[in-house]
Symmetry: C2
Subunit: 491 residues, 2 copies
């Protein structure tokens, strides 16, 4: 493909993407395909000779589009939203056109420098303490692929710090701390690194958040067994219910455990710190005081296209001392002189994409005000939904709504006469019925044995009408589920 062919194919791609967004609302949210659908559409081997690009792009339309789950759809309420803005798409386009592995400053100075600057933009917008800014030259921010990678980096660095202070420690004795509500990234980090994880039980009465007493009890019990606490993953906005660990109490406890690294996983909720009115409830002052590292995913609710997990550390040396491996072919004048950050020593791999351009485009095009408006709109829409649930006779809130997330259950008349298992069956029945529909997407969760339904707002295309429509659908399906469930659960 030469430059002029690319221009033609590029314009056509832009037009197709415009068509996609223009028709988005009419498309199903959930793909209707069955597993294995593509085998009949795509041959089992690459073609021997090159094909015309028009044909390839047509196949994108025929083969790919029908098999997409539309995370951009205004009626997508599953998991958490994923950022997809036109600014983000354009940034990915520019970034791809100058493809480079960006592992050190000289591999492409612009990539490193824009990351250094825009991560400071984000830190300031979120209200993080200046200690976390790259301009502090002590702490700093870095783009990771996902919150799982951010936590892996934090655990590796925490382990290195702990082992440097206590060289006699056996790997087998090291323990990662989290709660039963921590995202599976905690368990995965433990599995990847071959370390123990302790998931502390949290309770409904505490809104599923970790309290100081629970943490202290776990530390004390484990230390008696010779185990070594070295990192706590505190969550600000859990996936299941949006719970916010009590960072204030946690910080108090950690004063007695200076060897324990506090990593804050605010993958979803962290971007809400852009709005000053949520900072106290999300424990920003305590995070600024006590967190060793902090992570939020701009690719969730933060308008940036996947992947963009923003991670900050209070002391960059904790990363570089744990991760720096520099053979001669990677040595550069700038790295040796320390005049530039070599981000390869801030993450697990070596090569890295030029991703900061996405944040740059988004924050410039929206401005801080536009970004805040987007967050506030999600919270406002969720309030409309949760108010409707509160008034409903067959739906009930499981816990207070958290920012743009509502967790609810289908509750039968005279619920007290049924076992939890029976009501769980009702909720599973409801979720299965909803999953068979393609006009709305929700996910389920389990909160201490109770099956619940999550509705997460935050797609930039969702408006009040979609929320009201979602509520109507949910109530209708819930009502039908109750009728059908009652037939098998007559008291």
């Amino acid at each position: 493909m030469d430059v002029e062919q690319f221009r033609k194919a590029g314009y056509a791609a832009i037009d197709r993407i415009c068509d996609y967004f223009n028709s988005l609302e009419k498309l199903p949210v959930v793909s209707r395909v069955e597993p294995g659908y593509m085998k009949d559409l795509v041959p089992a081997e690459a073609p021997e000779n090159g094909e015309d690009f028009d044909k390839i792009a047509d196949d994108y339309q025929k083969v790919i589009i029908p098999g997409l789950t539309r995370w951009q759809h205004p009626s997508f309420f599953a998991y958490f939203p994923t950022g997809c803005t036109f600014e983000g798409i354009l940034a990915d386009l520019y970034s791809s056109s100058v493809a480079n592995p960006g592992f050190n400053w000289s591999a492409s100075p612009a990539c490193t420098e824009l990351e250094v600057i825009t991560m400071d933009w984000a830190a300031k917008m979120l209200g993080l303490s200046p200690e976390f800014y790259n301009s502090s030259e002590v702490g700093g921010g870095v783009v990771q692929t996902s919150a799982s990678d951010s936590v892996l980096v934090a655990v590796v660095a925490a382990r290195a710090r702990y082992q440097a202070a206590h060289p006699e420690t056996k790997m087998e004795d090291l323990v990662i701390y989290a709660t039963t509500q921590t995202h599976s990234l905690g368990a995965k980090a433990a599995v990847v690194l071959g370390l123990q994880i302790r998931t502390i039980e949290v309770e409904w009465k505490d809104r599923y958040c970790l309290r100081g007493d629970g943490l202290r009890a776990a530390f004390e019990a484990d230390e008696k067994l010779g185990r070594k606490p070295f990192i706590l993953i505190g969550t600000v906005g859990t996936t299941s219910s949006g719970a916010v660990d009590n960072i204030s109490e946690i910080a108090q406890v950690l004063k007695e455990y200076p060897d324990v690294w506090l990593h804050i996983d605010a993958a979803w909720a962290g971007v809400a710190l852009a709005c000053p009115e949520y900072r106290e409830a999300l424990y920003l002052p305590q995070i600024n005081e006590a967190a060793t590292s902090f992570c939020t995913n701009f690719h969730k609710w933060g308008l940036v296209n996947f992947d963009f997990s923003a991670m900050w550390v209070r002391d960059r040396k904790l990363l570089t001392e744990a991760l720096d491996v520099t053979p001669i072919f990677l040595r550069t004048k700038q790295g040796d002189e320390g005049t530039a950050i070599d981000y390869r020593n801030w993450h697990l791999g070596l090569g890295r994409k030029f991703r900061s351009i996405k944040l740059w485009f988004v924050l410039r095009s929206y401005g801080v005000t536009g970004f805040q408006n987007h967050i506030r709109k999600g919270i406002k829409l969720n309030k409309i939904f949760s108010d409707l649930v509160e008034k409903s006779e067959i739906l009930s809130l499981v816990t207070e709504p958290s920012l743009a997330l509502t967790v609810f259950r289908i509750t039968p008349p005279n619920e007290e006469n049924y076992t939890v298992a029976a009501v769980n069956q009702l909720n599973l029945h409801f979720h299965n019925t909803m999953s068979a529909r393609d006009d709305i997407m929700l996910t389920k969760t389990d909160l201490n044995g109770r099956i619940c339904i999550r509705l997460a707002v935050g797609s930039s295309r969702t408006e009040e009408t979609h929320i009201r429509q979602a509520y109507e659908t949910i109530e209708q399906v819930a009502s039908a589920s109750i009728q059908s469930w009652l037939q098998t659960h007559a008291n």
Copy 2:
């Protein structure tokens, strides 16, 4: 930005990218900026209010373009090439427009299914054994971010397999095996996972490749000390000199060590397996016989834009048993029924980009024949360069050229009268002089104490004229370096 604004900005972006490629040859290869250049061009805070996108895109031109190292430039010969094709750019554009975290089948069926199919396309094109195909439903292929991630996944899975077979093993006793020529990804995996690594010395006479005897000796010595070998990273095409470990001898030794996982890191050279004439020299039959996992980066020499590290395993259960962590909110009908691959259990994180579309576009547009032609062209161009070096009186080959890589040294008249250190100084002087130029980019390396210069061909835009021009420049600079060096090293 609404759809019509996006259409306008999108066309403009395509035009800018066309301009970039049209002017590429006239641009410097190496950016002329100094560390910190961007601080004067970009404010320290995000704007309060949104800005016009035309202004933002203009700033891309003013701020980013001057700070790029042009890996796409026909005179870029540093590191290894990085893929950047128009097909790859278009694929990234489409992929970004349907941003989704792709962690399981239902998160976007098309993403998983296209990866399943195109990784089989690639496996067939490279001549991998059917055991590695996804269609085998036993082994399979997966896209990782980089070769570092691929090796991390392999080491984690190898550790899990070893510990399952030998539950009494202490982490402290486990040893990763590699050579002194293995890419730093080996050392980094050890650092990340907190495991020991043994780098076996390799010799010039063996062309810096690992032999069976060296491996056996290392195993035997370590086992006497109670250490547990559990994985060997064998390299097919080292970064320093393109060395190919003797997989035939290695496979023989490993027959006696069935607990040791053989991971083949063919990050750079692996794509050359597309051409049948290189398969024997790259030990394809032995890889097919003995490798537990195999990795090659299509984003290097393989025409696919970063990131696209292709990894295959002989038994997918080795990955899923080591990495599967499935909380309720990630459970799906398809996952529970086993009708679809959930790729999140094949890599370290959770979320993953839709990357297979890049390979799909590239392999369809080029065809297998076009892909082979690209590889053969790189090797042919490198032969032209290495032939010139062989004929030169002041340059000499350090080791036989490997595929599209030549490693050479500047050799002064009567070299035998100088110490290695003195000749190293000459080569460093040469490399420093070259690094100060912006019309060509080369990297240096160290082969068993000798500083050498690498010239890696493979950018899809490099032609014979660029090779001859590069040679002329190198010879001129080398000649001047010798003159200046002789003044300080008069015998």
